[in-house]
Amino acid sequence: MDEKYFMEVASEVAHRTLLLNYSAIYDEPIERLRLKNAFYLTGMDVSKGTFREDESWRRVEAYRRSREYFRGGPEDWKTLQEMLAFELSNSLSKNFTSLIHFSLMDLAGGGYWSSGKEVEDRVAGHILRASVSFMKRTEFGNLTWITAVKDSLFYPMCSFTGSLLKTLQVEQWRENDGYVNGLKNLGGLVYGAVGYDLLLRERVNVYGVAKWQYDNDFYERQDRYRTLIWSEPDIVDDYAPYGVLIMQYFDKEAGKLEEVVLEGNFHMWRLGLGSEDLMNSALIMKQGLEELTPHTRESCKKYDEVVSEILSGRKKALAAALARVKGLWNGWAGLLLGGLVKVSEEDGILCLQMMKPPFWPCDFDGAAFMRLTAVTLPINRQVVHVCSHMGKLLVEKVKRAGFDKSAEEKPKKRELKKSLKRSRRGLTLYTPKVLGGRAMSCGGYPQGPFLAYTNSFSTRRPSCWGWLTAR
C-alpha cells in the first residue's frame, strides 16, 4: 500500500466516523437511541436480558458480575469496583475523544460536519488528511493521535470515576435502602453541578484563562509546532498529574477541608497541603499506576515521572511539586473561578482556599464546590491541553502543505487561502495567543459542534468552555 492510497483510505474512514458522530449528536431522537446506548455501553441486550457474545470479555464480566452483585450474589466488591471503574473510565474516555475529534475537525473544517453536508468538500479533505497524518507505525499496527488522546484521558478519568462510585456508595446498592441512598447522593451531585456551572459562568476570567494556557502550556511546546513533531508524551498535560495528586484530600473522609467564618461574616473553605501529603498521595498513585496494564502505563509516563520525583524525597523536587500545585490552584482554577479561589503559603504548607461570593441566589456549599473543582481538574486540564496542542498542530500542518513544493496533493492557492482562513477561524479558540483577544468576543464560533462539545462536559466539570461560550 503506498502512502497516497493509505492516506485516502484512512481519511475516508475518519470522514465516515465524523458523519456518524454528527448523526449521533444531532440527528437521532434520543429515546430511540437509549436501548442501543445501554447495549453498547454495557454489552447487555436490555430487551432480552442477555449479554452479547461478541463483546469484550472484560466488559461483559464487569457488568454481568455487577448485576449479580446487586442481586445479592457473592461477588467480591473490591475486584468488582476496579472492573466497573475501569469500564466506565474507558467508555467516558472514548466518549470525550469522539467529541474532541469531532469538534477539532469540524472547527478546522469550518463547520463542514456539523452542517451535515453530503457534498464533497476539498478543504475538509485537506483537514482530514492532515489529521490522519499524525500517526505512528508500531509493531501492533498504526497508532493514531486519537488513540493517544483516549489513553491520556484514561488515568485522570479513573480517578474521577473512582470518586464518583465512592460518592454514590455503589458498594451498598444491594443492601436495604443502599440504592435509595445512592440516588439521594446522585441528587446532591446534580444539585451541586447546576450551582457549580453557574459559578463558572459568572466568575470565569476569560482573558486570564487564555493567557495562563498560553504561558504555561502552549508556549512550552513552540518547538514542536515549528518542527511539526507529534509524539505521544506531548499529548499528556504537564499539570494533570498534580490534579490527581491532590484530589483525594478533598474527600470528606480525609477530614482536611474546613469552613472558616471570617470577620464580617465572610465564609471561606480551606485545605492545607504540605510535602508529606504529596508524598503520601504519590505513594497511593504509585500503587495505582503499578496495577495498570503495560500499555496504559506507558501512556501515563508523565504521571510516573511526577510520582518518582516526589518519592525521591529531595527538597528541590518537593518544592517544585508544591509550586505546580500552587500554580494549578491559584492560576488555572483561580482564573476559572475568578477571584474566589486562591492559595496562601506558610512554612512550606499550601493553604488552598475558596471564598463564598458576595451575592449568591441559593445556598452556597463551598465544600462541595471545592470538591467538584478538585475532582474535575485533571480531566479539564487534559482536555484543554489536547485541544490546544492538536488544534495548533492541525492548523500548522494544513498551512505547511500549501507551501510544500513536493506535496502531490498540494491545494491550489485559492483553496489554501480558504482552507487556512476557515481552519484558523475555527481553531483560534485552541491557539491561545490569539485566543485572549478573540475570546472576549466569541460570538462568531460555530455553535453546532461547540454546543456538542460544551455538552460533553457535565456541569460537574469545570472547563474552559465556560469562558469560551461566555458572552
Partner: protein, 94 residues
C-alpha cells in the same frame, strides 16, 4: 455525560427505580425529592440557573454508547489498515 452513562447502566442492569435519562426527573423521584425537592424548586425559581440546567440536561442526553461505538470503529479501522510502505515513523502524506 457521566450521568447519562449511569442512567444507561441502571437501565441495562434492571435497577429499580431506574435512573431517569433527564436529571430533572431524578429530582422528582420520591426518595430524592424528600432530600433535595425544596432546594431544587428554589433553584428553578431563579432564571440565572436556566443555562446551567439546559447544559446539564443536554450533556446527560449525549448518546454515550454510540459515541463509544464510533470511536471503536475509527480506531479499529485505521489501526488495521496495512501501514504504508515508507520507513518513517510518522506518516507524511499530505
Amino acid at each position: 455525560m457521566a450521568y447519562g452513562a449511569l442512567s444507561n447502566i441502571s437501565l441495562a442492569l434492571g435497577l429499580e427505580p431506574e435512573i431517569p435519562p433527564d436529571p430533572s426527573d431524578l429530582m422528582e423521584l420520591d426518595p430524592v425529592k424528600k432530600v433535595w425537592g425544596r432546594d431544587w424548586s428554589k433553584l428553578k425559581e431563579h432564571p440565572e440557573f436556566s443555562n446551567s440546567l439546559d447544559l446539564l440536561r443536554a450533556s446527560a442526553r449525549l448518546p454515550v454508547g454510540l459515541l463509544e461505538e464510533n470511536y471503536d470503529y475509527l480506531e479499529t479501522a485505521i489501526r488495521l489498515l496495512p501501514p504504508p510502505t515508507g520507513s518513517e515513523s510518522e506518516v507524511e502524506g499530505l
